[in-house]
């Protein structure tokens, strides 16, 4: 299981981040002060570190500068939204910089991007009788290969990664088509219909009124 270190001094936000990464199927380890986090980073290996900048004893920037164990990728999560801080954070070697307040799905999407970049995500997913291989870009249903367009494939993977999570059209657009995509949300609906038809997911890939779609767990 992918292990993520959460360094955050505010207990509620730490809990929030932990719950959020749990949705993505990751294990979160919470640490509420800088010095302790530094020790952990130095001696343990994490797949990803979510680092707050403003910590009471040792700032996130400081930890970033001092750490010698640089295997784990770092995402800064901070209330500081000035460009200079962002630049500084990224210059220090962080993979990304997320400004508070953030949405749960945004955080998850960014985590996935980073994990994919450092190749720590799984390549194979299975959902009921559907199995997906990200590397080969293939999708099999009951052992038979089903042809999916690249976007349909990505949408499917995104839903499988976030089972039982209501995903808004905007979020899906941002995750699959990119944040700067200015298309119609209708595009999503068409892709969903295609997926439902091709993989017989009418029952599982449900529409949630006024919000978006959700892929229900396969067990039910």
């Amino acid at each position: 299981m992918i292990k993520i270190l959460i360094v955050e001094d505010d207990a509620n936000i730490a809990k929030l981040v932990e719950a959020t990464v749990a949705i993505g199927g990751y294990e979160g380890v919470v640490c509420t002060n800088g010095a302790e986090a530094f020790e952990k980073i130095e001696h343990e290996n994490f797949d990803l570190i979510l680092l707050d900048v403003m910590l009471p004893d040792m700032s996130g920037f400081e930890i970033m500068q001092k750490r010698t164990n640089t295997d784990s990728p770092v995402i800064f999560i901070t209330a500081k939204q000035e460009l200079t801080d962002k630049v500084r954070g990224l210059r220090l070697g962080a993979e990304d910089y997320i400004v508070k307040p953030f949405e749960a799905m945004e955080l998850l999407a960014r985590i996935e991007v980073i994990l994919r970049r450092v190749k720590r995500t799984e390549n194979k997913y299975s959902y009921g009788n559907i199995s997906v291989n990200v590397e080969e870009h293939t999708c099999k249903c009951n052992g038979e290969e089903v042809y999916l367009t690249p976007k349909e494939f990505e949408v499917l993977v995104f839903f499988i990664q976030h089972k039982d999570v209501a995903i808004s059209r905007d979020r899906l657009l941002a995750a699959v088509w990119g944040f700067e995509y200015e298309g119609e949300t209708r595009t999503i609906d068409i892709h969903i219909q295609q997926l439902r038809k091709k993989l017989n997911l009418k029952e599982k890939l449900v529409t949630i009124p006024k919000l978006g779609y959700r892929l229900e767990s396969a067990k039910e």
Binding site: D10, N12, K15, L16, A19, I23, P56, A79, P101
Partner: protein, 471 residues
């Protein structure tokens, strides 16, 4: 044109003018003196010549035995007398018809000379070139003759010309010398101006800490001193502005952080509640609880913030309040809170009155006691006491709480400063209470001091001017 060029040029022109004028005047004086002397000698010579000729003529008349000498005889006599004297002074006789009777050499009588003599009958002198002509009317042998002598004055003229030339040379030399000296002097005198100029430019470019050297006691030093004074006040003001800007930025930074922290929780947990399908009842209650408590925190923050912002701007309601009554009221309302935490509170004041804004004064004491409560353990005491000193009213808030670390005391009145962030947040503090207190005290023209020992307690001492104690 630059100042030094102007000063240099004008001074040079004036000096040269003065020098030339003085020398020309002197030269003119000495020349006219020399010429006058010459004229005198010419005059006496002329007189002598004429007189001696006249007496010689008398002798000749006697010798000729004539009553009157004819013009011809006279001419011959003249030739005899002056004929050989061609090298010395020239002499010329002419009659009233302007006919030359005799001249010992060719003489060009200057025009106007004879006419002047004819008109007035007096003798006249005139300079023409290097010659001085003197003409006089003399009656000889019953007729009027005009005698003109031509005298060489080339010596005087030559000296004059010589001196004129010398003066020109000397003037030129003087001009060059004066120009050089002036150049050096002007440059030297205006050197401080250059320094001042450089300094001012540097200050204008933003080097407000730069100062102009102040040497000597002249106007430039004064100017430099005033410039420095100006730079100093500019520097002070700029620093003050920078400080204010920095403070404001710091405040905004803190504010945004303080607002974003609860907002993140509120948005995040509500997001989780919305997007998750299966959520346990336990989590749902927990998330809702967090959302509620964070929202409460934001409400406290915005309330305190409004109080802090409006405290200096609203019209204060100044009244002379009875301190004993006011402290009694405050004590009663605070008792409710302290009793809940099991803390003993005493709140009293000496009898007397003070000009205060009632609501602000209450807010001040509430905030201080609120801090004391947060620092105190169950079973400890909080003491609030008001008393009148010399021309001032003193408020003392004493607790037996955790105290404040020495190095933090200076910072605790800063907005958003919290000694223990985690605990303060847990108590619902926004870090604005003491900033508000400081503002209220300063509106009452008072001072606030903190004395604290960690683990033993804190003493807040406020002193406000005025107050009247009732016996």
């Amino acid at each position: 044109m630059k100042l030094w060029q102007k000063i240099f040029l004008y001074t040079l022109i004036l000096v040269m003018l003065a020098v030339s004028m003085t020398s020309i005047l002197l030269l003119k004086n000495s020349f006219s003196f020399a010429l006058n002397q010459k004229k005198q000698s010419v005059y006496s010579e002329h007189e002598f010549l004429v007189t001696s000729f006249k007496s010689m003529m008398v002798t000749e008349r006697l010798k000729e035995n004539a009553i009157v000498l004819e013009e011809k005889t006279l001419k011959k006599f003249m030739e005899d007398t002056f004929g050989k004297n061609a090298e010395g002074n020239g002499i010329l006789f002419c009659n009233t018809k302007n006919e030359q009777v005799y001249s010992n050499r060719e003489i060009f009588v200057p025009t106007g000379l004879l006419e002047a003599v004819k008109e007035t009958g007096k003798s006249y002198m005139q300079v023409d070139g290097y010659q001085l002509y003197m003409a006089s009317a003399e009656s000889m042998e019953g007729k009027t003759y005009y005698v003109v002598t031509e005298n060489d004055i080339s010596d005087v003229m030559e000296i004059h010309e010589n001196m004129l030339w010398q003066i020109q040379v000397i003037s030129m030399a003087c001009a060059v010398l004066i120009a050089l000296i002036l150049l050096v002097v002007v440059k030297m005198l205006l050197h401080p101006l250059k320094k001042i100029n450089e300094g001012t430019r540097s200050i204008a470019q933003g080097n407000y800490q730069e100062r102009i050297p102040e040497r000597g006691h002249d106007e430039f030093t004064e100017l430099a001193r005033n410039m420095n004074r100006m730079a100093e006040s500019v520097e002070t003001n700029v620093r003050a502005l920078e400080h204010v800007a920095e403070d404001r930025k710091h405040f905004i930074d803190n504010l945004s952080h303080e607002m974003k922290t609860p907002l993140t929780s509120i948005l995040g947990f509500s997001d989780l509640l919305q997007i998750q399908k299966d959520i346990t009842e336990e989590s749902r209650i927990e998330y809702a609880g967090i959302i509620k408590s964070e929202a409460t925190r934001m409400r406290t923050l915005s309330g305190k913030l409004m109080e802090l912002i409006t405290v200096g701007e609203t019209n204060l309601d100044w009244k002379e309040e009875d301190m004993q009554v006011l402290f009694g009221e405050i004590g009663v309302s605070l008792q409710v809170v302290t009793a809940k935490k099991g803390i003993a509170l005493s709140c009293s004041s000496q009898k007397g009155s003070l000009w205060v804004d009632r609501e602000l004064f209450k807010s001040l004491l509430y905030n201080l006691v609120d801090n004391a409560i947060k620092a105190s353990r169950t079973g400890s005491r909080i003491q609030v006491e008001g008393r009148f000193g010399e021309g001032q009213f003193l408020v003392e808030v004493l607790d037996q709480g955790v105290g404040i670390p020495v190095e933090e005391i200076d910072k605790i009145t800063q907005a958003f400063y919290m000694v223990d962030k985690a605990r303060s947040r847990a108590d619902g503090g926004a870090g604005l209470g003491l900033a508000l207190c400081k503002e209220i005290v300063s509106l009452h023209q008072g001072t606030m001091k903190f004395e604290s020992r960690q683990g033993e307690g804190t003493r807040v001492l406020i002193s406000m001017k005025g107050g009247r104690r009732d016996a």
